[in-house]
Subunit: 467 residues, 2 copies
């Protein structure tokens, strides 16, 4: 046993102290903005009943759900089943329901829907909740894709108002700005516009094929999209109609007026446009900005389609323009959020932040504030028994002033203690040697500048209180 090198499961990670400080900085910033807009935190259990999760994410999703093995004698059930019917054959599929009844949550949305249904009588609607917890997916791990990762979601349920959508744009804007990002785009689209387009070209039944194809415009270009549309059952003529819409350029205002013409005979399409316009109206009032000014960070993108089968109104996606990175956020409106658990007629809308990607972007752009790496403010050295005794009342006085302070716990060489302070990014070290004990003046070393000064205990405390 002693020689087995321990490891963590594939696709999972340890987070070191310096990583945790940075992760907390991101989570705390996002949470503070959620709270500012009236969202309240909830948490749900890591495990859900398998019946709660199964069938909510499609066949592919179901496969990626991490299932728990029943505890205790899990084989008793299959065995008794076999005894009762000899033609029962053991397969992964036939055994699963007999040996597993719980699973780890796959996202935060289905547990949230379950929560709303279970607690509907305690909840005051509209219910604005946020949730920052890990989720688990048995995906093939690769760079930037993990089997355990945090989701940061805010959702409102029980309000049709487009004010919610406008505020989601502001939440993105405020949180990303607070994190130091300067150039990002919050893209918006509306499922109803996509429905309108499919209707106009006379292929409403192909809406999913259409959007799956045009969603790839970024990656495969218009030729790739054309090819895919042909394969998916569109005619050359359909595509001639689609092309100008897909390739719409210009300001959001230009796009909207062009779309209005294209969709002039589609009720649903026009409704989608009106929703976007209403969201823009809210945004103008809530920011005191013109649409041109809003367009610095906000843009209509009618190729945007993420999770189309899910969303029924607005669709959001956020990209940073400062680093090469996929989307760092997304969301939208989904009518009938809780229908899957039998509570009909509750509409929901929500957004999510991609915390892991945001972490990588901040790291790449060097945007983590300097202070976020330190914890302890001051280390007092420990050279011998006498110095340690001398240090104890000083450490008390520092802590009485709420200064995070450590006494090196045993006598050790200066070099070792200094590298301990360095590794921990402790900004100040107090050196106590025989000179210091004689004079009553302590040496305070600034670890960043390398400077030293002699201070009385009172001066030391005053200085560190300020720092």
């Amino acid at each position: 046993m002693a020689n087995i090198k321990p490891s963590v499961p594939k696709g999972t990670r340890d987070f070191s102290p310096s990583e945790m400080v940075k992760r907390n900085y991101i989570f705390d910033t996002i949470k503070s903005v959620f709270r500012k807009y009236g969202y309240q935190e909830i948490q749900t259990p890591s495990m859900e009943n398998l019946s709660t999760l199964t069938g909510k994410y499609g066949d592919e999703g179901d496969k990626l759900i991490f299932k728990m093995l029943n505890s205790g004698d899990f084989w008793a059930d299959p065995e008794s089943k076999k005894q009762k019917s000899a033609d029962f054959t053991y397969t992964s599929k036939s055994l699963l329901p007999l040996i597993s009844e719980k699973a780890l949550r796959y996202d935060l949305t289905v547990p949230f829907a379950r929560y709303v249904v279970m607690h509907q009588n305690e909840i005051s609607f509209p219910f604005k909740r946020f949730q920052v917890q890990p989720v688990w997916r048995a995906d093939r791990p690769q760079k930037g894709r993990y089997r355990e990762f945090y989701q940061c979601d805010a959702d409102v349920v029980g309000s049709e108002s487009l004010l919610n959508e406008a505020e989601f744009v502001l939440i993105y804007k405020e949180a990303l700005s607070l994190l130091g990002l300067k150039d990002f785009t919050i893209k918006i689209n509306n499922r109803k516009i996509l429905s309108g387009i499919a209707e106009i070209i006379g292929k409403p039944e192909l809406i999913v094929d259409m959007t799956v194809a045009i969603d790839k415009l970024d990656k495969i270009g218009i030729e790739g999209v054309t090819k895919e549309l042909l394969e998916r059952g569109f005619s050359e003529q359909d595509i001639d109609q689609l092309k100008p819409v897909i390739l719409l350029q210009g300001s959001t205002e230009d796009k909207l007026s062009a779309l209005k013409k294209v969709l002039s005979t589609s009720t649903i399409g026009l409704k989608g446009i009106a929703e976007i316009e209403s969201i823009i109206d809210y945004l103008k009032k809530l920011t005191a900005c013109s649409l041109d000014e809003l367009s610095l960070f906000f843009e209509l993108d009618i190729t945007l389609a993420r999770g189309l089968n899910y969303y029924t109104g607005a669709i959001f996606e956020v990209k940073t323009n400062e680093a090469a990175m996929g989307s760092i956020g997304g969301g939208g409106r989904y009518d009938d959020l809780t229908g899957m658990f039998g509570l009909k007629g509750l509409t929901g809308a929500g957004i999510s932040f991609g915390a892991d990607r945001i972490y990588d972007v901040l790291e790449e752009l060097n945007l983590f504030p300097a202070g976020t790496s330190s914890t302890t403010e001051v280390l007092i050295t420990n050279f011998d028994e006498q110095a340690e005794q001398y240090a104890l009342p000083i450490i008390k006085a520092l802590r009485d002033q709420n200064i995070a302070a450590e006494l090196y716990p045993s006598a050790a060489k200066l070099k070792k203690q200094m590298s301990y302070a360095d590794d921990k990014h402790i900004p100040y070290v107090v050196l106590i040697g025989s000179d210091e004990m004689l004079s009553g003046k302590l040496t305070l070393k600034n670890m960043q500048l390398g400077t030293q000064e002699l201070l009385t205990k009172e001066e030391l405390i005053a200085k560190l209180k300020k720092a």
Copy 2:
């Protein structure tokens, strides 16, 4: 499907917004004290390799570990095994290693040991880490015992100094005091004292039986303990020797001098006493208190034995005296923390806070601060389109000042909006009706006092900024 009432798995819980605020208050308080004493946060994955966890918690513990079913075609392995050797029989035991290779963590200590060994070359020792994450146990759920619950641990590894133990006492003291608890006892014992006692009565091999029995003194009284000691192989004579030690009364000072006499011929026993004395010396200096003053919250209890097979030095347990509740914290020193993963000679010491129990105590004593239940500071009502438009710049102005503000997202009856504010514990509501729009003076209602006043937008902001 629609008619199945959703539920959460047995022994797990949802946390509502008001519960989350209170839980965060406890976690944040404890974390702030950990940081003040130089402890840094880490996180480890929820899942560990089964090989990392198995065999670390005894046979009973192994049964309580939640195992993950391998993803994909988990039955392929057992099937091929069966094909290769026809006499292979399917049982829970024989199948487990074939269909499960990962499990949910059972505590934070083993993952921490695994972390230290894996990252030993990046870590600067002594390594002081804290960790606040959920753990999972397939225990029979009962009042106050859950299958998913948070542990809040601080451990130091790589330092033998008893300063660490003294600081753990201070961490308990400071955190519990910050949480508003006034009367609690941090009990200390030392495994070496227990070894010394077993040595003195000539039954060193029965130390586990002895401590298991005397640990129950609180619950079953001296008669119960006597009975159990007899059953466990002690003679009447042994018990006559033990009794005065178990029943030691008086101050910590009295107990120590009595113990010194009893253990005068036991080297290990005297070492245990010396360790306790050294911790007390540190505590006196670090608090500027006498032992009598320390005894208001700190006490030697030689019947304390929690997890004896684990601890090798100090043993801690914390009890509140204000509510009927088991221990709200515990810990101790364990030499050779990382030996289980092949890294010898690293000593560790740690403590844990029982957050769920502390929650119940604070609730019972009504100690959660009033502010901890609110999130949004002010709700602006929404009676019609015109009032909504009027409100938008006001909500902007409030948020510009970092005031958490909500506009009710659609026109609704006053009663509904007021009960929304009530349910969310929002302290202020701004009413905007036709009078207010005409005069430019807004009605601000204090929801707790029921009072109302008329304020300009500027006055409103100034007032809420102060509040």
